[in-house]
């Protein structure tokens, strides 16, 4: 009987402790947004090449997961495609964590159509009307008499929240929108759906879809950086207090010209445009 109890305790102990293994020593753990993931990954690889003794682990999961693990102190850097919410900040402060935001790159959200669609441009109001359900047929916008297939990211993603804030002004998304679990899936769906419309991060525009100018501005690195393009957003990395030690070195690298070149390579917009 005793043996069994001990074994049970061991099993339970393992199950429980796996969640709280914290980053000790020089190991840096980054966790969070899948949007920021490519930047984090490529920057971590380069940083470890330059500092062989550094050990960085990068995990996805989503902005919410990143915030939660920063609050739990199970990561050193939380990658987030949105700013931390008040509730999250309050929770962090309650646990003695002081979230500090670092903007590491800019991202633009492109409105994409199937290349066969004749529509050439949108106003901000039109995008909003399509996504809130006021417009459901392309003929209202001068297109063919076909039902609009509205494609969106799932309602918990950072991209969805950013789009909801930037494009919809907080209005509710139409209920019959197709929800896709990743930027890539949105691009694929719009590419395969002649009457589809979707939105994706700047890095996900492929040749199977076309990005349409909004309010007369075509999405590009320049228009996103200058915020001329209406749906531009910063990407964040959060730390507990001011970064120190290896974490500070990492940020110094990521925000340097070399680091920002990696941001550019990952398909996002570097904070300083290089000529």
């Amino acid at each position: 009987m005793k043996t069994k109890n001990i074994a049970l305790a061991v099993v339970l102990g393992l199950v429980m402790s796996s969640g709280t293994l914290s980053a000790a020593g020089k190991k840096i753990v980054m966790e969070g947004s899948t949007t920021v993931l490519p930047i984090a990954q490529i920057a971590a690889e380069e940083f470890m090449k330059m500092n062989p003794e550094a050990d960085i682990t990068v995990r996805g999961g989503g902005s919410g997961v990143g915030a939660a693990s920063l609050i739990d102190k199970s990561c050193d850097i939380a990658n987030m495609s949105r700013a931390m919410k008040d509730t999250e900040v309050q929770k962090a402060v309650g646990r003695g964590v002081e979230p500090k935001a670092h903007v590491v790159a800019m991202d633009g959200i492109a409105v994409i159509l199937n290349p066969s669609n004749p529509i050439k441009s949108f106003t901000r109001q039109q995008v909003k009307d399509i996504y809130t359900g006021k417009i459901s047929n392309w003929s209202k916008l001068g297109g063919e008499d076909k039902k609009i297939v509205v494609v969106s990211r799932d309602s918990a993603s950072g991209t969805y929240e950013a789009f909801g804030a930037l494009a919809l002004g907080g209005a509710k998304l139409r209920k019959d929108a197709l929800m896709q679990a990743s930027n890539q899936a949105v691009a694929n769906t719009v590419g395969a759906t002649p009457n589809g419309i979707g939105y994706v991060g700047l890095g996900y525009i492929t040749d199977k879809v076309k990005a349409v100018p909004v309010a007369g501005v075509t999405i590009s690195k320049t228009t996103v950086l200058t915020a001329k393009y209406p749906y531009s957003r910063p990407l964040f990395m959060y730390t507990n207090g001011a970064p120190q030690g290896d974490v500070k070195d990492f940020f110094d690298f990521l925000l340097s010209a070399d680091g920002q070149k990696l941001v550019d390579e990952a398909g996002f917009v570097a904070l300083k445009e290089k000529k």
């Binding site: 074994a7 929770k91 309602s155």
Partner: protein, 291 residues
Amino acid sequence: MREKIYRWIFTILAFSSLVFLAGIIVVLFTEGLPIFKTTGFFNFIFGQSWYPTYEPPEFGILPIILASVMVTAGAMVVCVPLGVGSALFIHELASENVRSILKPVIEILSGIPSIVFGFFGMVIISPFIQKLLDLPTGLCGFTASLVLGIMAIPTICSLSEDALSYVPKSYREASLALGANRWQTLMQVVLPAAGSGISTSIILGMSRIAGETMTVLMVAGGSAVIPTSFFLPIRPMTSTIAAEMGEAVVGSNHYHALFAIGLILFLVTLVFNVIAELISRKYRMKLGLAQ
């Protein structure tokens, strides 16, 4: 002494899955129940709007429950005739050679990972259906039902075939000796005798379909509207959890709501499995197979 050690080791191993099950149940209840307090049981189950990230949020899962019901029903229409039909063919008509090829091939189908089915459905079946039926999009309840139905065929086929083979030879011989032909024997003696085994296989197939996640996430479209047609995008319970859990703020109402959906799903599949177990127990007794 050595024997005693082995005994303990295997006892612990056998009970470990009970520990995991208990852990899962405890977590589902403790993390899922808070939403019933904040939203109210009625508003949660019968609410028609799923806006988990808005201010104020809305957690109505009726469209999501109905989508699961619809896609499961649709998949049953596909997999029951195909699964039971193939079992009958393999057991009654196929020659030894055909059977030795067909059975393993159908079982290979069950080993294909669900993401591969999802990918297949998304890239090939969905565009095909969209063009064929001239739909706005091929990512809809119909496509999801079709792919899920195909996925459940092996479960139903191999369990039904087992049920058929459990029917004692004497039943068949008695019927044939009385002058019944093969068809009459099959329809009036073998099928009724294997009936509860076949029902078990169908219920287990249903439970697999209801719990399938990756495929519906990729193929069903994912609109949280009350489904009014098989040809519109829908969003079943499993894909809601899969799509949103990663981004839900831990401990928030949204997080609890997703756990509550998991709890409902768990209870539904539990009921399915208990029914299947009860039927199969009764059936084994009827055929005198109980020990």
